[in-house]
Amino acid sequence: MIARRLEELDLHHYESRLDSGLTVSTLVLPQFAKTYAMLGVRYGSMDTRVPAPGASRPIPAGTAHFLEHRLFESTDGNVMDRFAALGASYNAFTDYFQTAYLFSATSEEEACLDHLLTFVQHPHLTAAGVDKERGIIVQELRMYRDMPEHRSWHALLNALYHLHPVRQEIGGSEQSVAEITADLLIACHQAFYRPSNMRLVVVGDVDPKAVVAQAERAFPTPSGPAPAFAPPAEPPTISQERVETTMAVSVPILEIGFKDRDPSTDLGQETATGLMAEALFGESSDLYLELHRQGLITDGFGAQSFTGPGFGLVAVGGETIDPERLEGELWRGIETIRKNGLDHTRVDRLRRRQIGQFWGLFDRPEALAHAWLGMAFQGQDLFELPDLLESITVTAVDERLTLLDPAQAAVSVVRDAS
């Protein structure tokens, strides 16, 4: 046995689905001063249509993110002022598949939770507010445009996918946000911000029953289902083998992405993929050490697997002074491993490493809540990880090497404009 059970460590998590459809998840962390709460909506940049009378209509890219920004203005006044008056810190974010609102508080937790549960239901969406926000969002998009890693990642997704909306920038473009109106935001809010489409995650030294009772008061009634995400008929092949971006950089970036022909959000498969990528590209791998020895990588180098409904990929790369040489070395390393297979004792050590990382989450309430919520929206259960890591076979990890098929790969390079 290499992993112990949560209960043995006196850690308890609770999950219940309320009559309204809201799912409430609580993890008790004894003695923690901070309560961390996230209210997530299963609505992100990948949702590209909203129901309209008759049929449905397309949503401009960046709408979920725009709505998240505007939700901080509620009919009861400025949402941030209320959190600030309660002494809490608060934030929100939008990604491909979800929008989440969160706070962290060490006092007045009940009032903070009430506020969180209420303000997302009562937005104040006006034309003037939408116009003012556009200027701020355009500045945010420009900030991202100046970030080379962001540009490389976005270009890579576009090279791998033909149709899937994971291609779109989360914040949209200056053109697409110009099309967003208050009416559209209201329609999206009504369609997606329904309790059946939302999850509350609370981590801290809290009473789970009290959390549920509060959530029940805030969401007393069901309001029907939200639009389901329907992945488009994405071809299994990649769209483009190679993409180059030029901008002001001192150190270029190289990333290779591998598109999964048969993507799945099954946690067992994703765990196997993660172990395979770590075994091949992680800091203790022969390949990593060799690339470091040659001065081809920096600390930011690494591999990540990224899956969701209708897509799945593994990307490896980072900043490098010589993208061509790095690419050559990566292909050589991948070919060798695909021929010889993984070192089994190494996979076993990495399994332990990931179990250690899992336990580390319980010292970081934010990281734990983020992982829990994000995985739950994919139908995955974070707390299955120790069992999975214990039981996964080396063969299953070895099999994931088929993912690194050169025919399924796209390369993204960012280099200096001059």
């Binding site: 992993a3 460590l9 004894p30 003695q31 923690f32 001063a33 901070k34 002022d81 600030a84 008056a85 309660l86 002494g87 810190s89 962290s104 508080a105 060490t106 006092s107 007045e108 937790e109 009940e110 939770l113 003012k132 701020i136 500045q139 945010e140 420009r142 900030m143 445009r145 100046d146 970030m147 030294d205 809290v206 009473d207 901008m247 002001a248 950089v249 001192s250 150190v251 800091e283 203790s284 022969d286 050490l289 470091h292 020895r293 001065g295 920096t298 900043e319 002074i321 050590r349 990495l350 332990r352 490493r353 990931q354 179990i355 250690g356 990382q357 336990w359 580390g360 010292d363 404009a417």
Partner: protein, 444 residues
């Protein structure tokens, strides 16, 4: 301030903050300092040694010491083998790094791992052994560090430094510091400069290592599930043989006055302009009103309810971000923002107005209250992060002060608007740095 919450049926009240996380400070006979945060609340434990040197000519070679140490020890010379051992110890992390605190240069070697009680097999003794071996029995052949590892780490740090240009926010801040602190090593990064790195030999790094072990003030800080007496005995076994540590009391920073504001403009093909302003605060970490200075800086630009965010972003839609940052160990306040390149003048004007507003009391009681509450929340939340508690305890220890969050809490509550205004009484704008692209048809 807060009523007992039904969400927290058994939680202790804030007044018992200290009782929740008692920090133990101890000095070994050779003046090595020990800071311990024993607690069963966490599932991980850690131990970190910090050696304190000065920023200057030797910054790069000092920073290379921890980078090379973590590559291997005389017993486990191969990095591959060392990392395999750490992976097998449930992903224990052994990391080396450098940071700066004012003009002090801090070199760290840290071990973090899962507590034995969480695992089916104990690992602490073995992990601690690796950490101490790497530190005390390094891979020095002849009179220099392993030349191959040194070369790799030198190139890696050099690439990182070169890569700062890719991150415009960080790049702009460093360029502002370079303009404001010409000739002062404070303008270097904690890893020195590329030129310094290139001029460093294996011998010099080994010399820097011996200097650290021979005389640098050393603090060993540990957190997690431990018996404090046993931990002190262990630390004494590992460090008791070191020579007597040098005295190096805290000295307040010197910031020479400048008659005129220095202005530096730089052009690059960027989409967003970066405006960074450096202020001499006239207050530092050892001052009585350092807490008031922290509150003042926070009212100005730490939170979304702060003046900068409200006025520069929300009201004028000029920026995506606008925030202030304080380094009390240097007496420096920095305001940084990402703005529309065409709106530099109005943005700078609004920022200067907000700084003046703090000095002149142009903020509401509500804004002050919200800021104090947010800082109190941070102070409380910090007790959940052992590395943050130990970091703050280290800074205070340098000033010769104990870590007493409950006293800080009371002091924070007692701060009034006059204190905040007074903290900014001597503030002066020193340097303005602006990064943008050249606009067509615009005067340059």
């Amino acid at each position: 301030m807060s009523s007992p919450s039904p969400l927290h049926p058994q939680r202790q009240e804030a007044g018992q903050l200290a009782a929740q996380s008692p920090l133990i400070a101890h000095t070994l006979p050779n003046k090595v300092r020990v800071l311990l945060l024993p607690s069963r609340k966490f599932r991980r434990r850690s131990i970190m040694v910090t050696c304190r040197m000065k920023m200057g000519e030797a910054t790069a070679r000092q920073a290379l010491v921890p980078a090379v140490l973590v590559r291997g020890s005389s017993r486990v010379p191969k990095t591959r083998e060392l990392r395999a051992l750490l992976d097998g110890l449930y992903g224990a992390s052994l990391t080396g790094g450098a940071s700066k605190l004012g003009n002090a240069h801090l070199l760290h070697l840290r071990l973090g791992c899962v507590s034995d009680r969480v695992l089916p097999e104990p690992i602490w003794e073995q992990a601690l052994g690796l950490w101490s071996e790497v530190l005390r029995e390094p891979l020095i052949d002849g009179d220099g560090f392993h030349a191959g590892y040194l070369e790799e780490e030198r190139r890696s740090i050099s690439n990182e430094l070169q890569g700062i240009f890719n991150n415009k926010t960080e790049y702009a801040q460093i360029r502002m510091l370079e303009a404001m602190f010409q000739g002062d090593p404070y303008c270097q990064t904690a890893y020195g400069t590329i030129e310094q790195l290139e001029a460093t030999s294996p011998k010099q790094v080994a010399f820097a290592y011996r200097e650290l072990m021979a005389q640098a003030p050393i603090t060993v800080a540990a957190s997690g599930d431990m018996d404090p007496d046993e931990m002190i005995r262990q630390i004494e076994r590992l460090f008791g043989d070191l020579p007597m540590r040098a005295e190096d009391p805290y000295q307040p920073p010197l910031l020479p006055k400048r008659e005129e504001v220095r202005s530096v403009d730089e052009e690059q093909p960027v989409d967003q302009g970066k405006l960074v302003m450096g202020y001499r605060l006239g207050r530092h970490a050892g001052d009585r009103d350092r807490l008031a200075a922290r509150v003042a800086s926070a009212v100005l630009g730490r939170y979304p309810h702060s003046l900068l965010f409200r006025h520069v972003r929300e009201e004028a839609s000029l920026a995506y971000y606008a925030a202030s940052q304080l380094d009390l160990f240097k007496g420096l306040l920095t305001v940084h923002s990402g703005i529309d390149p065409k709106k530099r003048r109005p943005a700078q004007e609004i920022i200067e107005q907000q700084v003046a507003a703090i000095r002149e009391g142009g903020f509401s009681d509500e804004e002050l209250e919200m800021t104090k509450r947010a800082l109190l929340n941070e102070l409380m939340a910090q007790t959940d992060r052992p590395e943050a508690v130990l970091g703050q305890a280290y800074d205070l220890d340098l000033l010769g002060e104990p870590y007493r969050p409950e006293e800080e809490q009371a002091a924070l509550n007692a701060i009034g608007r006059e204190d905040v205004q007074h903290a900014f009484a001597d503030i002066a704008l020193d340097t303005v740095y602006f990064l943008s692209r050249r606009e067509e048809g615009e005067r340059s």
